[in-house]
Symmetry: D4
């Protein structure tokens, strides 16, 4: 299976990112975690993206806050699918990160998930890799099923509790 790369702009994004890393582990997707900044280490960021395909990666996930250029900088240097996670920072409630990540100009897409949406970024990565891995696809189907069942269990419990 191709590897996933989980890149974040700053070590402070790790709290959010770890939930997504756990998903990759749960699904048995091989991955690497890196801290590269589009601003503090632009050369390393570009080089990583530029060589990602040759180095066995299939998907790049990039998490960054504020003027969140990381996912876009990755996407500019690879034709692999790049998933962007806008990280909420101290001001503007994540709106800056979201717009900086999603509003990419024509030609260079970034697959953007919700603000702080680390779990969904990982799941989207799994969905993409599962297209050529039936085993992974089955795991996704099970994951969905058990999420639904857990939701329905809570429904029964709540419904019971509030029965007039």
């Amino acid at each position: 299976m191709k590897k996933a790369a989980f890149i974040m702009g700053s070590a402070s994004d790790l709290t959010i990112v770890e939930k997504g890393i756990q998903i990759l582990k749960d699904f048995g997707v091989p991955f690497e975690v890196h801290i590269y900044s589009a601003h503090r280490t632009p050369r390393e960021a570009s080089e990583f993206a530029g060589k990602a395909r040759a180095n066995g990666f299939g998907v790049i996930i990039a998490a960054a806050g504020m003027a969140a250029h990381l996912a876009g900088a990755m996407a500019a240097n690879t034709v692999l699918p790049v998933i962007g996670i806008p990280i909420k920072s101290d001001t503007l409630d994540g709106l800056d990160s979201l717009l900086s990540t999603v509003q990419m100009p024509s030609g260079i897409p970034v697959a953007t998930v919700a603000i702080n949406g680390s779990v969904n970024a990982a799941l989207l990565c799994v969905e993409i890799l599962a297209l050529s891995d039936d085993n992974l696809m089955e795991k996704l189907v099970s994951y969905r099923k058990s999420a639904a069942e857990s939701s329905l269990a809570k429904d029964r419990e709540t419904n019971e509790k509030y029965k007039a």
Copy 2:
């Protein structure tokens, strides 16, 4: 190659969607175009998504405006990657469509592109399908190269024009 599904919520989205369809054609990706609404034809929308994998689809692209639920409704019924295009409508400048598409809760991802970002949605779809199709991957690399060359040609022209 797996097929792409290009779904839109309303026939009025076609102006925007057609630019993306053209990209799929240019890259030789097989595709189907549908009008399904999460609100006016919810059953057909769900059923299409539910059977998409069995019907040979690899990626679903969904374009919708306002309270844009289409991509989310698709994603809720499939484990295929779903790409969402927020369509700008008459009010709020596309912000409603963007937030309704991208802010998906944990568990069900939608790969969101820019408002009206039909071309990027199609390119992201190609990137995903190209992971298991080296020929398609090469086309992507060429596409990028020629976009870069065209940009650099404009640079030379502009640079010349404004030379003091």
Copy 3:
């Protein structure tokens, strides 16, 4: 009297939703509480809405956060009035939930109340059911009167306190 259905997308919405449930109890409106998610349990959500009228419901109240599709998904499957409560989540201060709930396209209305407006959702439900139940209507009139009286009592107290 027809029943009210109080649906929420996730068990975490219960803190907000409970204030509305209490209103339904206070007014003696029969109700059921359910946890259905437009994304995690889309089939159960659709089915509930599709059969709600036949099952004796008159109004559906749906509470959800982020890309809040629940009320819209309910409304797409019934011609009963559907009331939507946008739930504030961790980012964007409820703006995403509000726009995802209220900006419904022509044809499928959702009666949207304020962000976290669980009490008003329940009161709106009572107002609707009271149209064919004079007893309920009288309770509403009393409720309003006592809210007004309580407000005026506070006015007198405050006015007295600040008298120069």
Copy 4:
């Protein structure tokens, strides 16, 4: 059948409001149209709302722009369900009208529809009145069916057109 009241804050709202009036006509709902302003004619607005129930009205629809207080002013003076239509004005793209209409404090609900959502306001009104009028309910079911069919016809046409 109880009557619907379609109130607007200013004659300039009529372009938007007329689409909703047409829906009421199509469904055979008896109605009155009024221009009352929460600011220019506050007494008439309050009085209308205060006597609406006694005068045979079942639902009040109120359309207004900017600091859109009309629906709230109606709701403050009646226990009938009040539906609010935020009208987009020259600045802020309807956001001011939306927030002024939907963010009602606890105790006095307004059932808010999308910005300029005149058609949905009328349909919501019909849904409410149909709770005690089976004939009207059947018309709603037909209306939905034919909207779905028209959407599916466009789907077939579009799908055919883009068949590779």
Copy 5:
């Protein structure tokens, strides 16, 4: 001197409002404090405004949150200057209150101050009353002078502290 009326929509606004009341006290402006709600006690609110001029008031200050209609409702019933204070509530960071207060339609002005700007509302009230009261005007001039002096004292202290 004419009296000032300091009205708030709810007792919970008192924390903010008290800072403004203190200003009125400091300047020796006679005032009354009331809790009237445009929604819970619309009649009392209208009546107060309608009789305010006859009752010796010169300025009305109205503080309210969310769909903050109070200042507008006051203004609709008087030709006295009405000052609006948008109160920040639990969601949307005060943007709803601000737009509901300031975006008044042509014909009925509300003099709006900053979100939670209770002190400035009171100072504006004093400025208005001071137009026909030279003594009050002199107090305002002194107030400004001492605010400037206090700011300059902090400047000297800070400048000294950071001297290299």
Copy 6:
């Protein structure tokens, strides 16, 4: 009667400002019109405000767009009431002007009206001056009455037109 000063930041604001000037004329309020910019002619702007009281002015109205500092700069140099009109410019739909005008820090109030709210700024100015001019107050009462009558005439016309 004290004079009103109608100041705008740029000659391009004149289209909006003229509607307010007409109101001042209609009410017979003496006034002067000036173009002073907080940025291009800061000294003249400050000096005008600083001498306004001595020069017979009672109220200053200031209209400006973008980072709209004009009203604040006026208010910083006078204890006369300053009314701010946020002018909508080419981007951001007036939100920048509104926030720059209304969000004044404690100590220096600006009485802000709606975006482009030139008519209301002038009416507010009249209301303030009318506090010490009974004749002007009566004109205001008449103005309101005739606005109400004109609104009610449109109501009768519209009500008649749509009578089923």
Copy 7:
């Protein structure tokens, strides 16, 4: 004198950019104009910035729209001052460009001007270069003076016109 670099992300930004180029010409600042995209030609963009100082540039001005990463990408590769111009695109009224340009993380500053603020970007560039060029500084002082005089001329004209 050091040269200015005026970079834009796309040829479509030229309409806005040209006003700033004219300013540089008027002040006799030597400059080059380039089209480099942070996304389509990331290598050329980085290289230009990386060599700018050695190539005799003193200031870089970068104009871009949507997820406007260009100024940040320049700044990441140079310690020269970088001025960012957020360009308004088809959706969101320039808010996306503004936040993507200004909200740079600690360590890599971008000197951001107003949306479409091409003239101010050029003037800021002149101000920076003028710090070590007294002749340029004098031109700036004259420019300001003549802008003030032109504003005051319009003031006299307007004041005259509206004299009662």
Copy 8:
């Protein structure tokens, strides 16, 4: 070397401003710190800016919140480069300060950094002064290098930690 002026509108901005002051110290840039308010001490603010060049200053940094006019007021009175720091206050999450600082009209630029971006304001100031001070330029290059190295060290550590 020319001096930097670090001005803030209020003593309460000092927590944010101090991080920037530390940068100036670290780089050995001579500086003064002042508290001047565009509203409470407008004359002192204007005078400081007006004499800044003659008093040996090269750059002015101005930090202010809410309707943040300080940087603009400085810029209106000098042709030195003025850097604006929008300070986040209690409401609106810094959006008001950002727009009030950055949206300057044509003719008077303010170099705006991120909300609370005190460090970047200081670094931008250093970049500007370094244009005519090679020693300072070298310090900047070292600062960047060590920031990059620290980021890469964290990368190695994180990469190691998450190695599967």
